[in-house]
Amino acid sequence: MKLKGVIIFILLAYIFFILIGGFLSVQFGKNRMNVAKAYIEKTPKDLQVANVVTAVVVNYRGFDTLGEVTVLFLASTGLASILFRRREIHTELNPRRRSVQASRIVQVAGKALFPLMILLGGYVFIHGHLTPGGGFQGGVIIATGYLFLLIAYRKFAVKHNTITWIESLAGATFAGLGIMGLILGKDFLENFMLTGKLNDLLSGGIIPLIYIAVGFKVAAELTGILDTLLSISVDVNTNSKNNNNE
């Protein structure tokens, strides 16, 4: 099998040199902004939002963000369908066991850091339009807080019912805000609220609202995914031999 490794190495090196030749033509650091220049000029004036990246993600290219939120929802649904997790059988009767008990330091630190992480995550996604960050970043921070607890305590479980509700409602809020734009006679996802003053918390119209919904959704989904993956039972014998066509 050594020969196969060498052939692949040579092939990849060849592709590497072709690609780097291609990318060298894209000069590093050159100012080539085309649509981006218009984005930077319009954002503080028309949208009154300080963070241009947030404006691009939620407003100018909001459709991509809708697709991305769908991808997260898909990952969560796909995971559940592949692993056949039954949502009704809840874990109060049958607590899942991690294999190794975490040390005392992790448990104490987990309890202490958890509220701080939730606070930080909430701050990040509420202020997405003013400071670096936003819905996705804040949601990931919150999910990390939950991960801490999931690792520290063996019997900690997240209620999947709650997660389903938050997921669906947050996703529907995003799509609903977009459709509201349609109902009010404008375009899908167009900003239909007042925009306020630059650098205010209540600026930017529907942009902070969308990002807050995204923050909740990302936090709920990542926590759900982590919980599912951490609680799979690895009894091979009961699962493989009983497989038959349903």
Partner: protein, 130 residues
Amino acid sequence: MSELTINQILTYTFYGTSLLLIMIGFYGVLTKKNLIKIMLSFSIVDSGVNLLLISIGYINNGTAPIFSPSIMEKIHKGISVQMVDPVPQALVLTAIVIGFGVTAVGLALIVRLYRHHNTTNIDEIKNLKW
């Protein structure tokens, strides 16, 4: 060979490192036998691609594209402020999330495969052939 300017060094560093990461990841995907190592290699590829996308957006002497109060002051004083391209950052946000979604589904599939075949070696999972 012409002299290496700072710009060229930077270009080689950023683009070269990202492409190197991508190639290392591909090598891992194509040669490793363990399923989990294959998924990890894909994560490396994703990191490389995202790094590459962001590097394209850099502009010399540019700052973060956020109109914070301090930058607004500078603008009012008449100092011109150069900002970095915000579009690749938005693209990378989406790409990271998509990469995460694919990794999650891939890991779930690995769990199913392990339950069924009791192995994580890709050579032994060959129920479907021609």
